[in-house]
């Protein structure tokens, strides 16, 4: 025991100076990220001339614009995440277990969507499903309708569909990784013994996918709560989310205290979801 200590002690002392190397990057992050974050919280308690005003917090939290934005944000996020999980699971099952020539290339193509700006999809949807878009023109010509029949783009559903496109790759990636570890022999044995595909999916494949679905799903919840570009580009009056409300209050109305109060709520929500994601990812080893 004492020998072990004697050997361990000098190395521990030797390591001491190396520990300070963490200070420069940590200080940079503290100055540029955590200090501004703390000031948002401080500003939430002060009105724009710098006087403490706690009543304003209660007013904002009870206001209709805030409650509506919060409900919108949560509804869109949960619906879009459910959509991503379903679409991602279906696509991953086909790519992994019913592959076709070129399926590897298609998987990589979907993966590049992660690197593309999110508003690209919204802009494309304007041309596809907008009131003068391809779908509506086609339907109006075919059935000689006076008005565009498809009208979901400038609503919650337009945002949800765009977010499903943008965030499905975040589900697909861990799912394909999980599926590549599933034993093919087990599936073949089950199917030789007469198990139908649905039963194989339910009993063999899905249990292997659950960690990836939980981790990917909580990442999707976080990203959709924070999404800004898609909602801004759709620009529907009725679809205001928390990030859009913060932008509107700070930049268009210069109401910094209101913006900071909403930002505190938004950040708390995001950090909660981030905790969930880290917990899920750490617990399940994804």
């Amino acid at each position: 025991m004492s020998e072990a200590l004697a050997i361990a002690a000098p190395t521990a002392r030797k390591r001491e100076p190396g520990r300070l190397w963490i200070v420069p990057p940590a200080a940079l992050l503290a100055l540029l990220f955590f200090y501004p974050l703390a000031l948002i919280i401080r500003q939430a308690f002060l009105d724009d001339s710098g006087v403490a005003n706690v009543a304003e917090i209660i007013r904002v939290l009870h206001s209709r614009f805030f409650v509506n934005a919060l409900i919108n944000t949560v509804t869109i996020s949960v619906t879009a995440t459910a959509g991503c999980l379903i679409v991602g699971l279906v696509l991953a099952l086909i790519l992994a277990f019913v592959p076709f020539p070129g399926s590897g290339f298609i998987a990589r193509l979907i993966d590049t969507f992660i690197a593309l700006p999110t508003f690209l999809v919204t802009l494309a949807f304007t041309f596809l499903y907008g009131s003068a878009g391809m779908l509506n023109s086609g339907l109006m010509e075919a059935f000689s309708l006076p008005l565009p029949p498809v009208d979901f783009l400038y609503s919650t559903w337009g945002v949800v569909l765009a977010e499903v496109t943008v965030y499905t790759p975040f589900i697909l990636r861990p799912l394909l990784a999980a599926f590549s570890l599933v034993d093919r022999g087990q599936i073949e044995a089950a199917s030789v013994l007469g198990a139908r595909p649905f039963r194989i999916v339910r009993q063999i494949i899905l249990p292997a996918a659950i960690p990836a679905l939980i981790a990917g799903g909580s990442l999707c919840l976080l990203l959709t709560v924070n999404e800004f570009g898609i909602v801004l580009f759709i620009g529907a009056k009725g679809v205001i989310t928390l990030p859009l409300l913060i932008y509107g209050k700070a930049i268009q109305e210069s109401a910094y205290q209101v913006a900071c109060i909403i930002a505190v709520v938004n950040i708390a929500l995001s950090l909660g979801l981030f905790g969930l994601y880290r917990f899920a990812a750490g617990r399940l080893g994804v």
């Binding site: 277990f97 019913v98 690197a115 700006p117 802009l123 494309a124 304007t126 496109t165 999916v201």
Partner: protein, 265 residues
């Protein structure tokens, strides 16, 4: 193979083609088509033209491309240095501090971009730290948002590195600085390039924090695409979006080729 019958497989592939076509292929194809569309009153454009590209090239496009590239490069370079530095020096910490600091370096990726922009406005709008209205505040916003991704990528690379090389170098008497320069960093190089590429792509498409802090005269591509489409000029917006996509893809493919050549595969 999960489905054995030929007809069953065909049905499943048709389902796949439908989902893929509607959700992924149609948006990309339609952006390309609309950026080239002459007039678009029916299902398909009446004719094709390169006029929108000429228009944006005459307008603010080059300034926007320059602003995006310079911002992306500066922010990614700083994020690469600070992320690599953090990931390397985190290895020297005790386990408890390592976990805590590792978590703190990840937190910027969880905070909404608009709030990052708001925080910078609140913090740096007064002397002595007056950055509001400068180009630097845009770069800082991008740096904060991408720093967690760079840190994450480099940490993942470090975790996969076999410790043998570093131990051999140390046992042969290499000093820490020499070992870092000639052993650890070259082994990490592919991960560093990948991290740089990903953060550059993220920065090129960043909108939420940029609209909060950008000064007049430093309008990035996403912001100018938004102001074009907001004005109703959606065809020019589509052309500028294609320029953004092309610039991002060229950059990512270029970096991938450099990595492949460097690693000799």
């Amino acid at each position: 193979m999960l489905v054995w019958s030929r007809s069953g497989r065909l049905v499943i592939w048709v389902i796949f083609a439908l989902i893929f076509g509607v959700l992924f292929l149609a948006p990309l194809a339609v952006i390309l088509l609309s950026s080239l569309a002459d007039q678009w009153n029916g299902v398909l454009p009446n004719g094709l033209t390169t006029e929108h590209y000429a228009d944006v090239a005459k307008g603010a496009a080059w300034n926007a491309v320059k602003a995006s590239l310079v911002t992306g490069f500066a922010a990614s370079a700083l994020a690469l240095v600070s992320g690599t530095w953090a990931a390397l020096s985190l290895r020297l910490q005790g386990p408890a501090l390592k976990r805590l600091l590792g978590l703190l370096f990840f937190i910027p990726s969880a905070v909404p971009s608009v709030s990052v922009g708001l925080g910078l406005l609140v913090a740096f709008s007064h002397p002595p730290l007056l950055l509001n209205g400068t180009i630097a505040i845009v770069m800082i916003a991008h740096f904060v948002l991408i720093s967690a991704f760079t840190f994450g990528n480099v940490s993942a690379g470090l975790a996969r590195l076999s410790p043998d090389f570093e131990q051999v170098a140390s046992s042969l008497g290499a000093r820490p600085a020499y070992r870092l320069r000639h052993v650890t960093l070259p082994l990490l190089a592919p991960y560093l390039v990948a991290a740089f590429g990903l953060s550059f792509a993220l920065s090129m498409g960043e909108l939420g924090a940029t609209v909060m802090v950008y000064p007049p005269g430093w309008v990035t591509l996403p912001v100018s695409i938004f102001s074009l489409t907001d004005r109703g000029d959606i065809f020019a917006g589509a052309a500028l979006t294609m320029i953004l996509v092309a610039a991002t893809l060229v950059l990512l493919l270029g970096l991938e080729r450099i990595t492949k050549r460097a690693t000799g595969s």
